[in-house]
Structure formats: C-alpha cells, structure tokens
Amino acid sequence: GEVNIGFTGPLSGGAALYGENTLSGLRMAVAEINAAGGFDLNGEKTMVNLVSLDDRYSPAQAATNAKRLKQESNVSAVFVPHSGGIFALQDFNEKDNFLVMAYSSVPSITEKGNSLTLRIPPTFDGYVRAFTDYALEHEGKKLGMGGATHEYAKIWGAMIKKEWESKGGEVVSDNPMDYNKSADFFTGVSRIISESPDVMFVGGASEPTGLVVQQARQMGFQGGFIVMDQAKIDEVAQVAGGLDMVEGAIGVVPLSVYDTAAAKDFIERYKAEYDKMPGSEAAYNYLALHALVEAMDATESTDPKTIRAAIGDALKNMDTRKNPYEVTEVTENGGFVTETTLAVVKDGEIVREEIK
C-alpha cells in the first residue's frame, strides 16, 4: 500500500529557497521510511509518497493546492511553511478533514482553536523574552530596530519592542527594511545607527541579515545584535564576513552547534544527502514527518483526528535519531513543545547560553 502526504510551499519565485529547504527535510524523512521498507498499517507494508506543489508563497494558491492534495491524492496531512497559506487552509481544513502541518512560529496559528492544526516550530514569544533579558543585561539599554518587513518579522518586531520597553529599555530608532526586495541597506542602517544604539534588532532570511550586519559594521557600529529566529547566526556570519563581524549577536542556537547526539547524527546524514548544512526548517519538518508516520503506525489509521490525538505519544516514542530537536510534547492547541534556546557570539565563537 501507499499513503500520500502533501506539501504546498514556495518552490519558485523569491521565497523558493525557503520552500526548497523545508521540502528537503520532508524528502529525507520519506526516503528513510521507504528505505526501511515502509511502515505497518493494519498489517500491510505501506510506503510514504510525498506530493509537493508549488504555491509561490501565495495563500490562495496554497488553498487551491490543498484542495487538490485532498481531492486527488487523498492526503491526511498537508505541510505548509508560511503563515498566509496556513491561515487560508485553516478556513476549510476541518470541513475537508485534513491536518495542517504548520511550519510557522506566528502564535495566532494555534490560538484560534483549529482542531486539525499542528504547529511544528516553537512560537517566538519564548525567544522574545529570553533575547531581551540577555541583551538588556549584557549589551545595554538602547535598542535600534532594523528588522525585516514581512509579516513574520513584523509580528516579531512588535513583540520585542513591547518587551524591551516594558523591561525598562529604550527603543532609539525604529526603521524596518524590506530584506527581500531592497537593493541596498546602507541608508536604512545608517539611519538606525545615527541614534547610536547599543543593540540592533535584525533579521529576515539569513543572507540579507548578513548584509545588514556587515553594512552596520562597515559604518562603525560596535554593539551587539538581536537576531530574529528566521536567521541562523552561522549563516549570517558567513555572509557578513566571519564570526568576528557578528560578535555580540544573540540568536537561536543554530543546528550546527547543537551538541546532542540526535542533532549531530541528523546533520551528518543530511550533509551526506544534500551536501550542505541543514537549517532548522529542514530539521523541524523532518522530525514532524517522522512523527506523523509514527502516529499512523501506532494508531493503524490515516484519519486526521486520530493522528492528531496520537501525535504527542508518537513524538515521545519516536527513535531519537528521527528527532534532532528532541521534541517530546504537544500542547493542547497543537503546538510542538521545544526547549527555547539561546546562543551568543563570544570571542568569535557561537556559544549556547542557559536561559534563566
């Protein structure tokens, strides 16, 4: 037998890279399951088939794709890596009976009470708190806002601003920039550092974030950075011109410095497969697909509601090799529970810090 699992995400256009990375994790998980001879569903050896469709980051196209995946491939779950698409799908997924595997940290995804949604990454409120605390303690009180302008970054930015001010910090300049379309950040960055902040909030995709950091340094900015979780410090450093350039940056712990066996093992296998360092979108979606199949295996069912109910146990019982982030719990609303982590660049090295 064969069971279909759906994916809709940007595979062409400006966000194609992001979609590809997500898909790579899913593909790797599928390959592993099938190489092991599939899984057992009601006593039948069942292979997994990933059906992926391009939506160019458009919510409407994501909705069309989801309809198609449901109708033509009878999938019980659809992976979507962007909040717009997730919202569009949440409009009808309960009616059409499929699980939305949401890869997005926007909190409202799980706050709406959709019974067939699973949020894979952690919401970012944990980061917001942790990063703020750390930066206020180690870097200074003056924050310059230089984040990106897409929806995700907007929500992030708004939250950190609020958090920063409520903890007694001061936001000295607020100048978000379009990371995806801008031709040049020199002007925007100079506007921010002309108010001489101690810390700069930056972040969109890693690479443009690297440019922003580099240009800030070129213009003489000496302070630290709060790096939004979409960007990974190691990738940022590569673009910016080395870890020295990002000294004092606070961000999520990049997969590359996770020292758990599960993570290291995953990185190894991913590198062998794709010849590059995996990002978190690959790792998270990888583990989510494994968990999904694990749940099917355990319940002998492909019914979305049944799977949804069993996913928590599946995560717990799963082989840790399939779970690089060691997620073991799902909240009532369907959010995967991940330990919030924090990394800083100190003396040219990325070090993981405990969160108080």
Binding site: S12, D54, P59, A63, R68, Q71, E72, G84, A88
Partner: protein, 343 residues
C-alpha cells in the same frame, strides 16, 4: 481585427459552453476541479474588465491587479474589521473600485501608449506598497483574516465549493453578456474608435477623456467585482494579492484568449489556469516549459485562441467566395515587407 459584431462566436457555440459550465460540477472528477474552475472564472471576470480598457479602448492598464486587490481588500476589511455583512460589503467593493478607478483614470489617461502603461505599472506598485505599509488600515504584511463568505439568505451555503461555483458563474455570465452588448453598441464602437486612432476620433467629436475614463471605470469595477468574489472565496488575503504578477497573468490570459474579442478572456483564462495546474508536477521547473510556451503562443497565435479561430473561419468563407480575393486579410502581408532587409 474584424468587425466586432462578427467576433461573437455563433450563438450555438455559446449555449453549448454555457451548458457545459452548468453541468461541470456534475461531471467534474472531484471538488478540487470545481474549485479550480471557480477560481478561473473569478479571474476571467477581472480579465473581461481588462478587455474593456485594453482590448476595446487600447490603453494597456498595468494597475489592473491593483484594483483587483482593492476590491478584495474593501470586502475583506469591511467584513472582518467593520462588521459589515457580505453583500453590503460586496457593493461597497464595487463602489470603491469605481471611485478609485475614476480618480486614477482622470490622472493617468492623460498619458498615452507606453507612458500610460508604465504609469499604471507604478500606480499598481503604489497600491501594493500602500496595502503592505499602511498597517493601521490594511494590517500590512499580516493580511486580513476571517473574511465573511457570501450568504445565501438561508437558501444555499456558499462556503461549499459547488454553490460558490454557481454564484461565480452567474456573475461571469452577466459580465460576458454585458461585454457582448457593449461591443455592439455605439458606446463600444466609440471605445474601439479611440483605440484605432485617438486624434481622428477626437476630430469626429468624440470626447476622449470622458470615454476613456468611462471605459477605465468600467474595467476597474469589473476588477473590483472579481476581487470581492475572490476574497469571499479564499477568505484570507495579503498584500501579495496586489503583486504585479497578477496583472501580468491577466494580460497573458487576455492575449492567449484573444484580445478585443468576446470569448477570448474566458477561453484564455480557463485554458492557462488549467495548463498551469497540470504543469504542477514539474514543480520548480514548470516555468522552463511555460515561459517558452508563452513565447510560442504569442508568436504563432498572435490573435489568441479566439482570434485564430475567427481568422480560420474567415479564410474558409473566403475560400468559398473566390471573387472577393482582394479582401484577403492584408494585415499579415505587412510581414512581407522588410522581409529580406531583415531576414
């Protein structure tokens, strides 16, 4: 281009198509196909609008997608943020796109040809930027959620795909009917006269500005209608609805279907929407096929599906009446000129 009246296909063909459209949900393999068809019809309505200003009146409007987005946002914001119910908000969307169309029209239509095209390209981009940046009003990049679906006064549930399909079909039929009537009327002829030569039209006593603005407002209202239906269907919208790519898509539909014809916008839209859907299996590589396909279509079927069909009909009727030899379509023969110097 031929006499516009002759651009209408035979009535029999039209009724056949209508019958097919009505039966489609019954013969469709699944709901997804109905959904795609409904999406295609929504776009087709917008493309009919583009046909009025660009096909009939000859002004290439690159802000069309922007007006589509304005229609969608008006409906979305009125229902989600201001608690309006669907149908009043729907009317609101029509009025809004008409009024904004009027305002943009009186400024932009003073420009001609490429200047008008690029000017409206910028207007379209400004609409996008405003939707993206004016967060207090539009929620910016976050988009609008919880948009109301059309209600059927207790009779039908338009949140189901099939009833919604028929709703869109009804609007589409109206849009086409009106377009057909317009094209044959004195008003439609006036638009076409402007396309064919505005200086001459003016010397014949035609008020260019008034007519062009009228055509523009009509076209933006069509776009607004489509946008509002779209919002009621997807029920989540974001700034990307105003992306310039949508405008380019619509121009492509129009051109492939047959610009300035009555059935062209429908055939082009439905055709391409299905082609794109069926190239999905190629994923990120589908543009490698679609791009050249577009180029080939434009080169070898310059008058679109409908236009090529009509030329073919024309040829056939000419072949039957050899005495009218001189009437053979000479437009094409211009290609003979320069042939060598440029070969």
């Amino acid at each position: 281009m031929f006499k516009v009246a002759s651009l209408l296909m035979t009535p029999a063909a039209k009724y056949l198509m209508l019958a097919f459209a009505i039966l489609f949900p019954l013969v469709a393999a699944n709901e997804y196909q109905v959904y795609v068809m409904a999406t295609a019809f929504v776009w087709a309505i917008a493309v009919y609008g583009l046909n009025i200003i660009t096909g009939f009146c000859g002004q290439l409007n690159l802000a069309h997608g922007g007006f589509f987005a304005i229609g969608a946002y008006t409906l979305g914001l009125l229902t989600a943020d201001y608690g309006w119910s669907f149908w009043p908000a729907f009317l609101g969307a029509l009025v809004m796109t008409a009024v904004l169309g009027f305002l943009v029209g009186i400024v932009s239509l003073r420009l001609k040809e490429h200047y008008f095209a690029i000017f409206t390209l910028c207007v379209g981009f400004i609409i996008y930027l405003l939707i993206d940046k004016w967060e207090e009003l539009t929620h910016g990049a976050i988009g609008v959620r919880d948009i109301a679906a059309p209600y059927g006064f207790g009779l039908v549930d338009f949140t189901d795909t099939t009833p919604f399909y028929y709703l869109v079909l009804a609007f589409l039929v109206f849009a086409i009917w009106f377009m057909g009537r317009l094209s044959k009327s004195l008003l439609g002829r006036t638009f076409i006269a402007i396309r064919n030569g505005d200086e001459l039209a003016q010397s014949l006593g035609i008020n260019l500005m008034r007519n062009k603005v009228l055509a523009f407002v009509l076209s933006t209202t069509y776009a607004g209608l489509a946008g509002a239906l779209y919002a009621g269907m997807v029920r989540f919208i974001g700034p990307e609805e105003a992306n310039i790519n949508h405008t380019f898509d619509m121009i492509t539909y129009l051109l492939v279907g047959g610009i300035g014809t009555i059935m062209g916008p429908l055939l082009g839209t439905v055709g391409i929407v299905w082609i794109t859907q069926s190239l999905q299996f190629l994923e990120e590589y589908r543009m490698i096929i679609f791009g050249p396909l577009l180029v080939l279509l434009v080169i070898f079927f310059p008058r679109g599906i409908t236009g090529s069909f009509l030329t073919w009909m024309h040829r056939k009727s000419q072949a039957l009446a050899p005495t009218k030899k001189r009437q053979e379509n000479k437009v094409k023969t211009a290609q003979n000129r320069e042939a060598e110097s440029n070969a």
